[in-house]
Symmetry: D2
């Protein structure tokens, strides 16, 4: 057989967890050829020193951004706020640019300002970017050359709520979403709050109100309703489990909710409805998703009150970041959507 067509990839800011995860997935992707990874701090050292899972898998060394050469795809894995300020520099290097940060997710500069506390550095470019959520934007992603990867907590909230809101089912009451988040979501830099003795046994509410992903979720979800997010850190390293509290009309049953999910997500390759009557794995659990691109969704209704609890689980670094980006790239290039994302996950894990 002939070798598959490959696009060259440069990862900018490749020493963090998001960049490292994109690298891991890309090294196993038949159509991607990572040729450059930047890290100012680690320039000239092998990437496998920072990402030790890649020992024996790549001989790439970090380089500085200043040494970046053109590539087919430039993947930006920089701290929030950094990509937008220098976006011209990066779009000049690659025909396709994928940003893993929050910089190009929000369409409305005023919402950006309200959310991030400063004016967007390149508001005129916002319209060019597609929000990198294949389940909501598959058609726009075809041929897209500017992909703004969706936020991890936002993704777990959006995918749980989208079907019921799209179909106009939910009552116009306050919707609350509580996310249990692993420590990798805070990034690769050590801090007092990530110090193992302070974190290993902790259940720590870190954003009871005011989570920035609220803006993304509101932008993407249909309808006009009050949405409230709360984020809690857990002792897991990866993963987000989100439980959403919402209300359906009188007479709705489990079966109706199931139908709604089926109708909207019927053919989605990375959405699984998990609602099992027996055994111990009855609902979504991030334990099963480390390294996978799945978003597992579940729900349970309270027949007495019309309350429905929606549940979603993802790996924040895969479906929440790098896998979502690869899936979006696959769509944009016309490759099979699951390419490079075949890992099934471990059990036990």
């Amino acid at each position: 057989m002939t070798a598959p067509e490959q696009l060259s990839v440069a990862i900018v800011g490749g020493s963090g967890y998001a960049g490292g995860e994109f690298l891991r997935l890309a090294l196993n992707h038949p159509h991607l050829n990572v040729t450059q990874v930047t890290s100012e701090r680690n320039a000239n050292t092998p990437v496998s020193l920072v990402h030790p899972n890649l020992r024996g898998r790549t001989t790439l060394k970090f380089r500085k951004v200043a040494d970046l050469e053109p590539a087919d795809i430039v993947v930006l894995a920089l701290p929030h706020g950094s990509a937008a300020k220098r976006i011209g520099e990066f779009t000049a290097k690659g025909r396709i640019v994928v940003d893993l940060s929050a910089d190009f997710r929000l369409k409305d500069p005023a919402v950006y300002r309200a959310t991030y506390g400063e004016d967007h550095p390149a508001p005129e470019q916002l319209a060019e970017w597609v929000y990198g959520n294949p389940e909501l934007h598959r058609e726009e992603l075809v041929g897209a050359t500017r992909i703004a990867c969706a936020g991890c907590f936002a993704t777990s909230v959006i995918l749980a709520l989208y079907p019921l809101l799209k179909l106009g089912v939910l009552l116009p009451k306050d919707i609350t979403a509580t996310g249990l988040v692993g420590s990798s979501a805070a990034g690769a830099s050590a801090s007092d709050s990530s110090h193992h003795p302070e974190r290993a046994g902790s259940l720590r509410v870190y954003k009871p109100v005011g989570h920035r992903h609220t803006a993304e979720a509101r932008q993407e979800l249909p309808g006009n309703f009050p949405l409230h997010l709360t984020a809690i850190s857990t002792p897991r390293v990866r993963g987000i489990l989100t439980t959403v509290q919402a209300w359906v009309p009188d007479g709705w049953s489990d079966k109706d909710v199931w139908s709604a999910y089926r109708e909207v997500y019927g053919q989605e390759p990375f959405i699984r409805i998990v609602k099992v009557a027996k055994g111990i794995h009855r609902y979504p659990d991030p334990m099963l998703l480390d390294g996978t691109n799945y978003c597992d969704l579940g729900f349970e209704m309270d027949p007495d009150t019309g309350r429905v609890v929606l549940m979603s689980a993802i790996d924040n670094l895969v479906k929440g970041t790098a896998g979502h980006a690869i899936q979006s790239l696959n769509i944009s290039q016309g490759w099979a959507e699951t390419t490079g994302l075949e890992f099934a996950g471990l059990h036990p894990a």
Copy 2:
């Protein structure tokens, strides 16, 4: 100094975690003298074989219930449903009876039936029991001889909500409470869901709706409002962190919430308001409470929406079970309320 007056204690069902925790605390209590501990399965073996933390602390051996002799205090640590069916047997053995199960918590037999799916075995006795929550029932506990220890998740919900509901502050909207619960809450018996490889990395929603403690919480909390509970198991062994989503009127601020907590809980020895502007320990965290009788409470307001997130953390086996019971006993007997409950908790832990 003279030795303190001591009451003899018999613990019935002492091989589980609740009974073991009561034993641990009682062995360190100057007014309690544990003379009997029962376990059908472990009869004639030292209690320290089952509770290895008590090695060198006690030479007690388990006996069978059939061999129970009279004691001043009989503590029932039986599976739910077992105590009520044989309550006459136990009240005949001791002047004071403390039940750690759910059997005598609910006042209304109809609610009991709706919650536990069967008729209460001794409905005529329900009125004699005091709900063992000192913060709400301190005066009734004075001299009480029938104490029904409050449920662990219920306690975390009740103590978080009581001040704002007592003062009539909350808007009449749906209140949701999400509890993150440690594995010890499911008891000392091994099961598929407690098998370490299946549980260690899990974030598992186990009661999205229909949690039985809803009935307790509704009984104890003032006002008429929809209250919804969701319970999720976490990789911790002990501890519950509950976040409650509720709504306050326009114009309410953090300061007002703080005043409400202060007004209601001002002198409570085991309630701490945790809301710190700096550092990493800003809100309640069960990490700090293992082995202690504290209920740490916190809150945060969303100024844009009137949403308030209430947070409570407890050790499910102490403030959620055995410690709460000891505190209730201390009040009932006129002993200093903190007697035997002085442990401050560990940091780091």
Copy 3:
């Protein structure tokens, strides 16, 4: 391109962790086609109920052994002692038989008896089986139709020690190997010792002396020397980290040890020497190996005493069981040795 040749696979005893892991790897293997999985207890239920990571990956249902039909490869994942007693039944079903248990690892029936406390049920067959360790038995594995998968702790000990013993380097002193073992090594059945509250925080010596894998390690390792194993359970789910204490002659340096490893393992696709002077990942760590077939090896010398500490890390279910078996099968069939074993591992994890 044409579809690759595929052999049909029947997994006997597929509800445990070893069988489940073989299934996970085989489903992703281009030359293997799993057509049957047995479980007496779970007959007629989907395998994904027991192995929830495989939801959406397979529609296979468990069947009973009595319903087993012929297959090219029969993989036995039964409790130790079960396969040998019925081996005729299984060899009648498949041309190639792979046993994941300990039944056919030991060559000498007397050693089997001393180790397992009973006579081997089929001693006449022992000579037909190849010990499934590709690094030591690659040539014998070519064309092999009876593969006895190596034990997990034994593998970690053997691979750490083999080069220095093969080259005759180690002094004839007592060698001790201490294995830190994850909870999945004890299997999928819940027990008192695997109950999460008893295991999550535990560091529990479970085999200070008398570990059965000592016999395997002695059989496979060259030379005549006293070898002593100690096994300790840790809070991890997967993984074994083994540290070996041994002694090299005067004048030996790190460089010499390194050369020995290189000489013996130079081209091994799944052996990585991990000895890094900087950063935090200086030695082998099972954290990086979940789901992978790597055995990472490291060492450090004490220049003052000639002591060398050898370190090995594996995933007990992959390189320690199912992955090792797949690697052996790949060799036996002439497929590329890494086929189906490409997963790189996660970081962070």
Copy 4:
């Protein structure tokens, strides 16, 4: 009853884990009255901000060392090397000085130099200090005013080996000790290696050879024998489990080892021999010791080889640091030896 006599205590360097643990224990000690705690970085902030378990337990604020006033007891909880350089400053402030660092543990300045790589700053004072291990130095501790608290890993090694070496039992072969150490042993400062995503799942050999506590252990243990230490970090926060590999003469049995431990440690209040034939808690396990001052000791013999595996478990911050210091102080002052150290430990935990 009259209030007990109290000595005033100043803790120097009280923002770390060792100082915080001493503070926790001292606040509960009837003869100790902590009046000063220093921290340069946290001066003027409440100690409970840094040690949140002490909320509601103390109103002390940190002060700078420059503001230190005289106290009966000065406890030094400074980084290794800091106390000795300024020791005159501290001995001028208090009649009794307890050092929790390594600075005054070694008697021989040459050994200090070989171990710590620099000359001891106050070698003339070394002879004045008592090594703070009550089991070995109880008589010297009576009336002592300079107590050098023993190292944590050293303590676990020394207490395991002392009886068999004191009685001259062990064969003159290499003794190896492997310590599994919790993350709190590395202190309260965040670092790359303590970053939760890098540590939570890790089993990381951090000192395969060259551990500094080797010098302490050699100084304290009788006999002339080669002793080798290896230290491995585990996902626990507290605790050390040490397994020692040693050899006893032909004919020795479990019973003989037991007798040796009994003979030497018969009346020790904080030593427990843990060797149980049934159940899951057969050997020492640090899981049971968090917050306690126990050193649990166990052993198992290999009848075929004369190998004996000794096991010891401690809480590194209590019996390994602050509790050991309090116990030493209790002896020095003639207080009951267990005063302030009564906590039994939790189960489950």
